[in-house]
Symmetry: C2
Subunit: 313 residues, 2 copies
């Protein structure tokens, strides 16, 4: 029985980067987030695929103990994203988006998901995100929502409505500026927190994340990797690790928030080291522990001795 339910896309991706390319590769926001979260808690994925979707996708989910009863098999074709990255791996250029069966996506949570505690509404139409919230008999104790520039531009009202009903929003820098109309991220965060979510996670690609809530600001770097091969899914792997760990802790405080951000960052660092979901499938315990240790060493420093500070007042 999943404690965490993730609703989003299950896709077949065509990706080209300076380091190679893949076609019809397993992907999609809910797929990446689900795999990443599965290392930390019981996960159910809700999405839709077409008749062309390979059984391999379901096997991967099953091997990670993920409940896929919420993935509808439709008569159409699977949602497909084709994108390209140049050496600046921070921004993808979308070559083609084939919505296909996503156009008829009407997510319904199966009965096995009745005991959900946390919900991740990955990046889809904010009207669908709202309908999912409407359909739940009890509000989960934590709702995380991801969105993108397209919805901010074309469905801002629907987006603002659903923002009032969630706890954590994850968006990237440019989207935070677009949504708030403010250039300074500190000002942007204040405006966005005023729209509803108690916590805002601003994703900055290879520079990590900035996290704002009413209490504090937390900055977590991206793990500096020798080789980044494919950034696709980094944000979703981050979100999955984040909410997966948070769900496992069973409480939402500033302390667990920060710890969850670090877990999310570590999971994202695995994701980008290889194409598609290759690197976040079948991760070993020792790999994860080692990466989390490196993360701690990456940012920690001893308390400052301040007797040399020379000014008064």
């Amino acid at each position: 029985m999943p404690k965490l339910v993730i609703i989003g896309t299950v896709a077949l991706d065509n990706i080209r980067t300076p380091f190679g390319e893949v076609s019809n590769a397993l992907g999609g926001s809910a797929f990446y987030a689900g795999l990443s979260a599965s290392y930390w808690t019981d996960v159910g994925v809700v999405g839709i695929v077409g008749k062309d979707y390979p059984e391999e996708g379901f096997s991967v989910l099953a091997r990670h103990g993920i409940d896929s009863k919420g993935i509808e098999r439709s008569e159409g074709l699977t949602f497909s994203w084709s994108g390209e990255y140049t050496y600046d791996l921070n921004t993808a250029q979308t070559l083609r988006t084939d919505l296909n069966c996503l156009l008829s996506f009407n997510p319904v949570l199966p009965e096995s998901h009745d005991s959900l505690e946390t919900l991740f509404l990955a990046n889809i139409d904010p009207e669908i995100q709202a309908k999912v919230l409407d359909s739940l008999p009890v509000r989960p104790s934590l709702v995380v929502l991801d969105t993108m520039n397209f919805w901010i531009e074309h469905k801002k009202d629907a987006l603002q409505k659903v923002l009032r009903r969630i706890d954590v929003l994850t968006i990237n820098e440019g989207e935070a500026r677009m949504l708030s109309g403010q250039f300074s991220l500190v000002s942007a965060a204040r405006t966005i927190l005023g729209m509803g979510p108690a916590t805002l996670i601003i994703k900055r690609g290879e520079y990590g994340v900035l996290v704002f809530n009413r209490e504090s600001v937390f900055a977590s770097p991206a793990y500096p990797l020798e080789d980044v091969r494919d950034p696709t899914g980094a944000g979703d792997s981050f979100a999955g690790g984040f909410i997966g760990f948070l769900t496992s802790q069973g409480k939402f405080s500033d302390d667990t928030l920060r710890q969850s951000i670090v877990v999310g960052s570590a999971m994202a660092s695995f994701c980008v080291s290889d194409f598609s979901t290759r690197a976040i499938e079948g991760l070993k315990r020792t790999d994860i522990l080692k990466r989390l240790e490196s993360f701690s060493s990456l940012t920690s420093y001893q308390a400052l001795p301040l007797m040399s500070l020379r000014t008064e007042g």
Copy 2:
């Protein structure tokens, strides 16, 4: 008697940002770095100014206890930089550079600087940086060097020669890629550490710094500010705070390195909050202590409870 000697430019700047403009404002790499370092140790500044340089510049240095005997007064005009920033405050567009008296800069350390322990060679011609090292009877225990794209492009041999003689190099992301010929910063760092310096500080503007040495990697964010008014001097204020604090500690370990990076980042965060050197002049003890506390809160998190990690191996 300065323990830290800083050699670089003393300038009059003309700066325009979306938030205002100043002309003939106090600036220059050694001036910014000197002020920033003066909160932590005894500083001497070595540079050259013209007959148009205002007495106010010397008064500011004196108020901060900085030894300015090493600043030569020449018959020409003071070095002047004119630049503009758009809303993306990360990159300056240089409108005009008037080298003026800088063309005849031949730095000579006055006798009062004989007891120097640490040396900051701010961004000037690498041949001059090497001549300064040649002129010292005893090598300081720590030498930090800053440079820029212009020297990497036009005096790479001279630069590589001087890199073999220093301890810490500070450059920005683009320059690290240019100097190493590598895109990945981890690979770039390995290549650059192979050129001589034991420590490499990669400056990433509003994203903070990445620090590489043979032992470890350290990431420190930039402090998220509501209002950044003028980024001029941020890198020099960072370097000044960094080497100033490090000098005050009297030892160079991975621990003091990390602490010094945090102090540098805090000093830089003051610098950018107002035009020219306004914000790093006359800082109060409480302001600095408060900012350092905020910095610690910005990056710290509690050890991760890992009993929920579900994978084996």
